[in-house]
């Protein structure tokens, strides 16, 4: 078993135009999804991220900061999961209800590096 980071990427808030009733249906699906991950002992962590923030860089010795990416896509949050391989991690990502009902999102699936004898 290995840890994988599932980065949820969206352009803005995909749920913005949904009605209270529709939001509730999505919330219930999300609860089922998380419940399943917890039951199967595959969820190590998950957090939503605030929309605003900063990106800082230091080029040629000067600090530059700004809240935006070049693209409109933002990382909305992450799930840190346990899976036996990347195929399973990808399957877990596919099952995320953010993809339901035509909502637009991308999930980046990245293995957390392990080095024999150190963190493995």
């Amino acid at each position: 078993m290995q840890e994988y980071l599932l980065l949820i990427r969206t352009e803005g808030n995909p749920w913005e135009m949904l009605s209270p009733e529709q939001l509730q249906k999505h919330v219930e699906k999300a609860a089922d999804y998380i419940g399943r991950l917890v039951r199967e002992e595959k969820l190590k962590g998950a957090q939503p991220l605030d929309w605003e923030g900063k990106i800082i860089s230091n080029t040629a010795g000067t600090w530059k900061d700004g809240p935006y990416n070049e693209s409109k896509e933002v990382i909305a949050g992450y799930f840190l999961v346990l899976a036996k391989d990347i195929e399973e991690a990808t399957q877990l990502a596919r099952a995320n209800p953010i993809f339901e009902d035509g909502l637009k999102a991308r999930i980046e699936v990245r293995p957390v590096k392990t080095v024999e004898g150190i963190n493995r």
């Binding site: 749920w15 009605s19 992450y78 209800p97």
Partner: protein, 440 residues
């Protein structure tokens, strides 16, 4: 079990006891929150209240998507809505913009956190919902717009959902809401219940709006789907709020309307057969009538004590009660129902009321008497293009053995019927008597 770090307010339940959200929780809480925030910000800031509530629900979505549903979802929503309201109140130093109540509570907000807690108590919320109803039914706002506004603010429906329910466009509904909010601003409404005589008048308007909403759900003006159960449920829920509040004056009409809606709704699921075709009252399987709704209806009837004036609601509720208490179509107490209709047409002499009376008349005095009645109203401009007039006429012609005339009336009814389902029902009836109509 990994319980990754969470504060008290959003503790995830053990997976075996993940709280299930009750049906329509978000909608119901949305209604309550819009009412509370309208109290805090003032009716002229209704749109702001609606936006803050939508933001609150979105925040729930974004957070619970990763953290799961908290132990107390309602409290979570209230906390977030309250915090957002505080931020808005704090940000606007020109406090003139906001309602006197909130300003008073928030008067020291430059030094310490103002306490909005008492606004969010159950008692206050109930009162705010009622105040909201009266605001939505202000006479300056047209009845259709009143219903749209009620659905948007009190019932938590989105514009697309309202447009779908009324078979209208999102643009139209949006415009209606914009106009309604503008009327509210222009009227400088305070967020309070009207008093004295005005209260009774406004209450009538509120009941009319609720009844309009109910009929949208109950009857056939919405496209190919005959039944809009949810609209009926909302109407019943709103009337229940009114019924439970002693401070709104004479509640006799409220009880009557509630009873009427409960009786009619009890028959909901018996109205369609397994193929989705409409069944008439005579054909319905009465074992499918919802007994608990009928009981509730009877309970409300029993609460009506010597009304000062009999309203349309009282009479219609009594008629519906007769139907619901009858084990089958044949044993229906048509004599009493006819009596009630005789009283109804004294208050409501509309051709539709007289048409319904004619049906009852046919059961008591026979088809010829009823046909005479129909003759009296056939020239009314509405009746002349009302499919049910011709459908009723057709049935009565059949009963008196006038087949030709029956077929003529059926044909006219089919032509005029607005929904496919209704046309099909009529064609089915007609085809029994006319071999030249092949089942389409």
């Amino acid at each position: 079990m990994s319980t990754f770090g969470r504060g008290n307010s959003d503790r995830l339940a053990e997976p075996s006891q993940i709280p299930a959200l009750i049906d329509h929780l978000f909608r119901v809480e949305s209604g309550k929150l819009v009412a509370v925030l309208t109290r805090i910000f003032g009716p002229h800031q209704l749109e702001l209240a609606e936006d803050v509530v939508q933001d609150t629900l979105l925040e729930a979505m974004q957070t619970w998507h990763y953290k799961g549903i908290p132990q107390n979802p309602g409290a979570w929503l209230y906390t977030v809505a309250k915090n957002k309201s505080l931020n808005i109140l704090r940000r606007d130093h020109y406090r003139k913009k906001f309602d006197a109540d909130a300003r008073h509570s928030a008067k020291t907000f430059s030094q310490e956190l103002p306490d909005l807690d008492h606004f969010f108590s159950a008692e206050e919320i109930k009162d705010d919902l009622l105040r909201m109803m009266f605001v939505c039914c202000h006479p300056a706002i047209s009845p259709d717009s009143q219903v749209s506004l009620i659905l948007k603010t009190l019932c938590g429906f989105s514009i697309p959902e309202i447009a779908h329910a009324f078979l209208s466009t999102e643009e139209n509904i949006h415009k209606r809401l914009v106009r309604a909010r503008k009327k509210i601003r222009e009227a400088n409404l305070r967020f309070e219940m009207p008093g004295g005589d005005v209260l009774q008048q406004r209450l009538d308007a509120v009941l009319q709006a609720i009844y309009l909403l109910f009929n949208e759900g109950y009857s056939a003006s919405s496209g190919d789907q005959l039944i809009r159960f949810e609209l009926c449920e909302e109407a019943i829920r709103l009337a229940e709020l009114l019924a439970g509040h002693p401070g709104i004056g004479n509640r006799s009409n409220v009880f009557a309307l509630e009873a009427l809606m409960l009786f009619n709704t009890s028959r909901f699921h018996a109205r369609l057969d397994s193929l989705g075709k409409i069944l008439s009252m005579a054909e319905q399987d009465r074992s499918l009538w919802n007994k608990s709704l009928i009981q509730k209806g009877i309970y409300y009837i029993s609460k009506i004590e010597n009304p000062e004036t009999i309203s349309v609601y009282h009479i219609l509720a009594a008629i519906s009660c007769h139907h619901c208490s009858s084990p089958d179509f044949a044993s229906t107490d048509w004599k009493s129902i006819l009596e009630l209709y005789n009283n109804l047409i004294l208050i409501d002499g509309s051709p539709v009321a007289r048409l319904n009376r004619a049906i009852a008349l046919s059961r008591v005095q026979g088809a010829p008497a009823a046909l005479e009645e129909l003759d009296k109203i056939k020239d009314d401009s509405f009746m002349a293009s009302y499919y049910l007039f011709f459908a009723t006429q057709a049935e009565l012609f059949l009963e008196t053995g006038q087949l030709e005339r029956a077929l003529g009336s059926y044909a006219r009814a089919i032509e005029l019927a607005p929904l496919r389902m209704e046309k099909e029902l009529l064609e089915k009836k007609m085809s029994r008597f006319d071999a030249s109509i092949s089942g389409t």
